[in-house]
Symmetry: C2
């Protein structure tokens, strides 16, 4: 299953050793910096500290890395939909659970979600990932509709517009949240929920 | 002052004539589609329906077009801060006015604001525009602090995080709002204000 060979530290003089996680972590940074399309195998090799001729020994293809990196964002986003708190209880309770869990995934997997949100859909791998993202998004949209129907969300909002505004709020986190900043993940999560569900007015 | 020459319709067989507004409107679409850095004068000429050798007669430089296009977003954003409703009254009233007016500018000047929000800051023109954008953003940040201090915004939110979440909500409009979609600008504005200031819960 692991297609990126584990490399013992020091195997290449003065160059860091890489396991699959560190290759993925570096690759996603490079993709986010230069854009996936604009990143060549040569650029990846440079950033991994290995030679251009050695990169195919470590990385089967750029697409393989992209696929694995997107799984790092999509698998936890898909998993939270299977949690009993996302499937049982009132729609309002489920909506709050899904919003909070989504924020947590965005904060914990920030570079991987950034990559997902910037996808253009130019390749088959990208299109498959975008289809999975749309399925995740639809779940939130359905909860907004459900919560409005059960009377727990106000009647004067449009569910479609509201879902898009919520995603705007939440997805912006990947652009500005800094793990070493003054706010903890819990504070950011509580702040976003306070604004969206209860409003900022005292 | 106008540096892009007005061209009478039909001056070039089968090609549309352009005035300064139509050149700007086409250029901003091209910049948003390909990215400003990746857009060549040749690409602009193709999209304007004029020859590569003629483009410098109509457009002094790519930077000149960028500067003018960014003004289309920045001038109205700066102007709303001079409105009496942004400078008088309680901080909460001024905050709501600025939020509503900002949403209106984003919807009315969507392609120009899109260009502004995607700037990378690679050139002096871009850096000047980003500095003007930061000044506009600071005004909203100050209003959030002021409204919290006067007791009209809840005490348990962080002004800095809240300001960023508000910009996430509002700025997302340029990515998804469609003038020919089911919602009017007024509905989108009311929906966003309802969510941010009063919350979605019934």
């Amino acid at each position: 299953m692991p297609t990126i060979a584990s490399k013992p530290s020091g195997a290449k003089r003065g160059r860091p050793g890489h396991d699959q996680d560190s290759v993925l972590s570096i690759a996603v940074q490079v993709f986010n910096k230069h854009g996936y399309d604009a990143t060549s195998m040569g650029t990846l090799a440079d950033n991994l500290g290995i030679s251009k001729s050695a990169i195919y020994h470590h990385v089967p293809s750029k697409g393989d890395l992209l696929d694995k990196a997107l799984d790092e964002a999509l698998i936890p986003l898909e998993a939270l939909g299977e949690d009993p708190r996302a499937t049982m209880g009132t729609a309002a309770e489920r909506l709050e659970f899904v919003l909070r869990s989504t924020i947590r995934v965005l904060v914990e997997r920030q570079p991987y979600v950034t990559l997902l949100l910037r996808l253009r859909g130019n390749t088959e791998i990208e299109r498959r990932a975008l289809e999975r993202r749309r399925a995740v998004d639809r779940r939130l949209a359905d909860l907004v509709v459900g919560a409005q129907q059960e009377g727990s969300l106000r009647a004067d909002i449009d569910p479609r517009t509201t879902t898009r505004l919520m995603f705007g709020t939440i997805n912006s986190l990947v652009e500005w949240y800094r793990p070493d900043g003054p706010s903890t993940p819990q504070q950011v999560e509580d702040n976003a929920i306070a604004m969206m569900l209860d409003g900022l007015r005292a």
